[in-house]
Amino acid sequence: MRSLSSRAGAITILEGTIPVAETDTTNPDRRDFLYIATGAVGAVAVGAAAIPLVDQMNASADTLAVAQIRVDISQVAQGQQITVLWRGKPVFIRHRTQADIAEAEAVDWEALRDPEPDSARVKAGHPEWLIMVGVCTHLGCVPLADQGEYDGWFCPCHGSHYDTSGRIRKGPAPTNLPVPDYAFVDDTTLEIG
């Protein structure tokens, strides 16, 4: 007890061996420190209590569990497109023809509004697969496939035209259709997210 008393005045006081008034009226600095320390620890308690209350509004575990999806693409023939729902948004999975690819690669991409080569929008070794989030970068409508002036997608809301690589070519949209994170698990399975 004696050895502790210098370090932990609280223990001494809890034991009631030394009347508080005698020790501390002579030392107002120590008293102020005590109040500040108590207030600080109390503030930490309130702050810590706020963490769960704020974090509970973040995406829950079941939502995060479907943030990554696997798609079987073995049934998608060349020239076809399927749309899957990923994180609440449509994702276009396009099996491009050789003509589509050639058209996309022939473009002088550096002159485009959102300059990007076709090779940067597909995975090396899989140029026939174009994976994009199907949300127009203008105001969020879903573009229609195989329409528009560039044989790609056309957004009916405000007339944005995308080419066979999903790049913005004409209309109000500022950027290309975004490519999500994805990987080929094997030749016929795609993991998006």
Binding site: L53, D55, Q56, S60, D62, T63
Partner: protein, 483 residues
């Protein structure tokens, strides 16, 4: 104690604000400079603790409502979603569920403190009655909330409690069907219970404001039960009682959090982790612990009231139980006038003091009765005897059996020419329901007999002239430190 405002605006902005909306002045006068008796003990910290509980329940409740779904088909699953998937959902739900128990623990201490120190007496009758209203609203809110997880106990608690209304003659059944939105508890019941469970805490909050307002008009009662005579009797609320309340609150939190983290389901019932099933009633239906005494009063009335020596029933047992239940709470409203003593604190009421502790025993005893099966035998004197008496060759013979069936079987086995008669002698049994009736009578006797009579015949002990004197007198025997 209403007092002169001591608020001094310190800055230009504060002066500007004070001239337009004196909220700072209100806060200062109500919670900072408010003159508070200097002799309040730890039992007085529960007002602050209860405010804390209400805020915690509202905050956690609002966050839970962001994830809960009040649809009978998925309500149970949505609670599991909160427990498993929502970030910290398990923590928030356990704080909310344990919180209801802690809220009632605190409110019971608060009420018994008021009873012990006579805080309901003039001039605090309205303060007390507002408190009783808060208590009733709390019980309603807790009951509604208990239904929301839609487990077995939720469902059957809703069924049993709403069926109480069917005891009312003629209009009872229509009222019950109106309450549950159909012929039995179901989806409409759940959705409206959720709506009301969300609403009532804010009503409670409103009545709490009135409760605090009334408190600040009359000022605090205190352990001596003597009104404040002047500034020498009081100290400002801040910092004296803010720090004392804060310390008591953290002690309370230690108990609260120990339950949340180490025994979150100890105060609940396992059956509520089984989804509601209208076809199967759990073997043993009990409400949450804080409602058990009232449940005991409801169940302990098992007799009709009728005109003696006729078959005419005036009040059926079911209705009588409901009346007793309602009366057990209504009597609290009348308490300020039932207690005839002018002395507030039981410190100076030697005759009343033991009755107070007896009353606590009665309430705890009622809680025990409420938790147990009413048929449980507490005391049994003798054994049941089912006797077959008959005559063999002129000699009377009696044979004893443990059950009536055995005895009847035996009589049937006897030769036809033997005339046997069945004689029953049943043991005396003192059951839970009997104890419940005795305690119910004792509960009402405390309010309707003990408080009025003792107040008249008792000779109170001499009281100090003022709080200041009470404090100094209390300090004198111990010459050492001031505490």
């Amino acid at each position: 104690m209403a007092h002169e405002s001591t608020y001094q605006p310190k800055s230009g902005f504060e002066r500007w604000l004070d001239a337009r909306l004196p909220v700072m002045r209100l806060m200062h006068d109500s919670f900072s400079a408010f003159p508070t008796p200097k002799n309040l003990n730890y039992w007085w910290t529960f007002g602050g603790i209860l405010t804390f509980c209400l805020v915690v329940q509202i905050v956690t409740g609002i966050t839970l409502a962001m994830h809960y779904t009040s649809d009978a088909s998925i309500a149970f699953g949505s609670v599991e979603h909160i427990m498993r998937d929502v970030n910290f959902g398990w923590l928030i739900r356990y704080i909310h569920a344990v919180g209801s128990s802690m809220f009632f623990l605190a409110v019971y201490i608060h009420i018994f403190r008021g009873l012990y120190y006579g805080s309901y007496k003039e001039p605090r009758e309205l303060l007390w009655m507002l408190g009783v209203i808060i208590f009733i609203l709390m019980m309603a809110t807790a009951f509604l909330g208990y239904v929301l997880p839609w487990g077995q106990m939720s469902f059957w608690a809703a069924t049993v409690i709403t069926n109480i209304f069917t005891a009312i003659p003629v209009i009872g059944t229509p009222i019950q069907e109106w309450l549950v939105g159909g012929f039995a508890v179901g989806n409409p019941t759940l959705t409206r219970f959720f709506s009301l469970h969300y609403l009532l805490p804010f009503v409670i909050f409103g009545v709490v404001l009135l409760h605090v307002w009334a408190l600040h008009v009359t000022g605090n009662n205190n352990p001596a039960g003597i009104e404040v005579k002047g500034p020498q009797d009081t100290i400002p609320f801040n910092p004296y009682y803010t720090v004392k309340d804060a310390f008591a609150l953290v002690l309370f939190l230690l108990v609260y959090m120990a339950f949340v983290f180490y025994a979150p389901n100890a105060l609940g019932h396992p059956d509520n982790y089984i989804p509601a099933d209208p076809l199967v009633t759990p073997a043993h239906i009990v409400p949450e612990w804080y409602l058990l005494p009232y449940y005991a009063i409801l169940r302990s009335i098992t007799f009709d009231i009728g005109i003696p020596f006729t078959d005419i029933v005036l009040i059926e047992a079911k209705l009588l139980g409901v009346i007793a239940l309602a009366a057990s709470i209504i009597v609290l409203f009348l308490l300020p006038w039932l207690d005839t003593s002018k002395v507030k604190s039981l410190r100076y009421r030697p005759m009343m003091k033991p009755f107070f502790f007896l009353f606590i025993v009665v309430c705890v005893g009622l809680g025990w009765v409420g938790a147990e099966s009413p048929d449980k035998v507490l005391i049994q004197i003798g054994e049941d005897q089912y006797r077959a008496e008959y005559v063999v060759e002129g000699e009377p013979v009696a044979q004893v059996f443990p059950t009536a069936d055995d005895r009847d079987a035996f009589i049937e086995m006897l030769n036809e020419d033997v005339e046997a008669s069945a004689v029953d002698a049943l043991a005396f049994r003192f059951q839970m329901v009997h104890l419940g009736l005795i305690l119910t009578v004792a509960y009402f006797a405390h309010f309707l007999l003990v408080l009025p009579i003792v107040g008249v015949i008792e000779t109170p002990r001499s009281r100090p002239a003022s709080i200041e004197e009470a404090v100094l007198k209390g300090a004198k025997p111990a010459p050492a430190p001031a505490e």
